[in-house]
Amino acid sequence: MTTVAQFWNRNRIAGAVYVLLGLLAVLYFGVSNPAKNDVTLRLTADTSLTFGARPVIIVLGLVTVAVGVALLAVLTARSHFAWTAGVALGALVLAFLFWGTSLAKTLHTIPVEALLYGTLIAATPLIFGALAGVLCERSGVVNINIEGQLLVGAFAGALVGTMTKSVWAGLIAAGVCGALMAALLAVFAIKYLVDQVVLGVVLNVLAFGITGVIYERLMQPNAAEYNNAGQFKPWEVPGLSDIPLLGPVLFRHNLFVYLALALVAAITFALFYTRWGLRTRAVGEHPTAADTLGIKVRLVRYRNTIMGGFVAGLGGAMLTIGAGVTFNKEMTAGKGFIALAALIFGRWSPVGAMLAALLFGFADAMQQFLSSVISPVPSQFLQMAPYLATLFAVAGLVGKVRAPAADGKPYVKG
């Protein structure tokens, strides 16, 4: 019994799954329902590569099988788990993308530039949301409320942006409203010791209700006066935006994308190299010890939670004044929860969270691309992809992640 359990460790189980999935990909995408048309990868406006889709898919499938076999046979050390998962699943996703494009109804070109650009756009609100989570949870306050904070941010951005005719005012209002939402979270979690997971869920309902009521009575009937904020104009970074491929993907965005990336850098630095960061982490891991050293535990938590709300509010504004879209009821549509998953997937670190957010962003961009070229996969199944990915990620890939030790535990001075 124990020997069986020891043999089937995490790597070997994953290996077996990859072998199975790789074979399925080869058989289904390559043999039984084969890709027909050649697929063109358009890298830049005038550089493109054309492949026969079938050989590419078969090779990619075999790569997955090979990784699986390697995991089963030799790579049994824990350290090999993450990169092998990346290679195997990456190959599978690429095989799927080639297959879907090859059988698409309209055109058989993968616009790499546009796909990566879309990835970054889709990932940005998630990055903001996940960073909000980092700020709160590193100090020991669970933030399930990201969804609500994004929603009020999107709402306030559109409303205030229209009323003042200034997107900048909208941006600030979005941050402030996100911070107010977070302040509610902080007061009830820290002062009144309400269970933080429950509280987050309930505050999401509150955000949904308030924005819904005001939208229906004010913004929907008088859209021109209250829901017509315009958009932050893109800013092309001089010089850098002319680099082929990278330039258009990274340096032709508006404020939000740059801000998100800058915040990742700033929060990483602040969290690990400043006094504030050390205090935050101390309070999140062992509040009693931090208290003994004279750190004001509750104050740190209030400050971080409210800062997190501000960041999430900015991210919400990305959805309205960042994208030039009017506010709509429930428009965050679960992005806050995906951001939460990115936070966990990224192991509560800003960079990890950003990478996870980019992964989800890619899934989203791919879904939009494949449904725009009318591929044979029903669009609903593509929509499920990020959720399924999160499910698998949380269940298997990241293994046992460890939250900050005092995350979600209110601190009562004893």
Partner: protein
Amino acid sequence: MTDEAKPPAAEPERTVPPEKDVAPRPNRPFRIFIEELTTASTFMVTVLAVVLALLVGSILVIISNDSAREAWGYFFAAPLDAFEMSWYAVRDAYVALFQGAIYDPAKPSAWGSISETLTYAAPLTFTGLSVALAFRAGLFNIGAQGQAVFGAIFGVLAGFLLHLPPVLHMLVALVCALIGGALWGFIPGILKAKTGAHEVITTIMLNNIAGIFLIWLVVQKGFQNPERTDAISKSAEENARLPRLLGFLEGDLRVNLAIVLAVLAAAGVSWLLNRSTFGFELRAVGGNPDAAKTAGMNVAMTYALVMAVAGGLAGLGGASMSLGLLPFALTPGVIANIGFDGITVALLGRAKPWGVLAGALLMGGLQAGAVKMNAVGGVPTDMVYVLQALIVIFIAAPALIKTVFRLRDGKASRSTATLAKGW
């Protein structure tokens, strides 16, 4: 929390100060009544939480009322106008809320409003019980929504794919719904048990997947209603539908068998929790999983089973919508928001089966009233969500209620209502 934090009062030289709430109780009935009203008991906290939520909610009523908003626009010219208009707006809205929930003289039947309240309350009871049961095992089941979706799907599928005699068909359809929900609930349970994946994340993802699956399913050949072009499935057969209870009265009363089943379910869950071995294990695991493990209980298996049972309850909730109400078919919005509302109901009921039933009645009343409030005063039905959220927040923070209303220390103010535990 605070009780535990107190130093042990065992030092011999120090006399233990008498606690406030053990002061001798007065023996005259009127005094007892006053005593009860001014103490932060569970009941009083609930009532005052509702009152406070209605007060805070009235701000939104005023904002969403055109004439009141206008009057505030010229506040400095005629301040009294603003207050008068606001008062009218709030009064009209809450009168409509009451009429929609309890008694409306304008309706043809005196039971009209009650019927609506019970109709809304039935599915909420099921999903509330689902969330409450998981709470008691230390799990936070946000997934009642997805489980209810699958319950609704399985129920309707059994409703139009099978052809069975009356009563039997309904029972089979309900069992199918139970199984559908249980399967969808079992997934996060087994994932938690085997991999430690947090159920909050997995159930949220499963909710989204279930919702998208439903949207896909209702337009597939063989499922979609052939006479319609919009997203609606075939209807369940007459025999599989839940019969109306007050069909003999005039006024087209919608209340159906679901509310009776809901009461039975509350009784069943109560028995399960308090009288069965499984319930004991469930509570032990919820109280302290490590201790339960040491005592020889299979914690992982309990998690998986609890989530399956919770899923089954939510599935019945879904079926009570899809088999109990027109058009007896699947649409993308067939179960509305009952899964998420179930969370609030469970919290309102403090995760106790009969409390959940009471919470569902309150929430059902609010929802029925909101429809009328929307029809009369134009207050959007989303107002319910604001009230719902506020009520739960206030209930969960009894210390706040105690301060606002200057209540004396009581049972409710000392518990901090810790249900789930962080990550």
